[in-house]
Amino acid sequence: SQQGEEDPQALSIQEGENATMNCSYKTSINNLQWYRQNSGRGLVHLILIRSNEREKHSGRLRVTLDTSKKSSSLLITASRAADTASYFCATGAFTGTASKLTFGTGTRLQVTL
């Protein structure tokens, strides 16, 4: 079953603008991670935020987590054409034997010149 749901499904912006993607989930989590996927490639880990953290930064990325609302957002500031990709949130849980991630369906971001 899908844990994370991203919103919007697709986003088109111009270079230099900020891009905001949202993720909602259903159950308690240990952490939430964001990944990027360029067309035809595998996923690349961007950032991990723990359940006891509210905000985290990495370069032009800013992630927030609101566990009371079971939601997270990814903000990409001053976007570039190279940021064009699909972005996925993934929630982490422990099954008893291993750590498992459950991925959402992703947001397709298009950054135009």
Binding site: N31, G40, H45, T97, A98, K100, T102
Partner: protein, 117 residues
């Protein structure tokens, strides 16, 4: 840098064939995972392994099996391929994290686009 290598980028097989997808990682990761990715459905976990010869079913294991004889290699097997198994298959690996600890980031290969005719 972590490298996860999948044996084929593109593969075409026929219905009923036994299909092997191979994945190798070079970072001594304990955990390895197989996902399939379909438009509108995101990534869905098929199987994962947390140690050599150990495996656990994911969300959609039906029609698949796995093998992990060595720590660095994790194979996905389609016992009798069917057209509904046409998909992008992604392998990933990560370090192990204990109960209560944060999950580790997963490192992905570039995927195998499998077509079953």
């Amino acid at each position: 840098d972590v490298k996860v290598t999948q044996s084929s980028r593109y593969l075409v097989k026929r219905t009923g064939e036994k299909v092997f997808l191979e994945c190798v990682q070079d970072m001594d990761h304990e955990n390895m995972f197989w996902y399939r990715q379909d438009p509108g459905l995101g990534l869905r976990l098929i199987y994962f392994s947390y140690d050599v010869k150990m495996k656990e079913k994911g969300d959609i294991p039906e029609g698949y099996s796995v093998s992990r004889e060595k720590k660095e290699r994790f194979s996905l097997i389609l016992e009798s391929a069917s057209t509904n198994q046409t998909s992008m298959y992604l392998c990933a690996s990560s370090f192990r994290s204990g109960q209560g600890a944060s999950n580790q980031p997963q490192h992905f290969g570039d995927g195998t686009r499998l077509s079953i005719l």
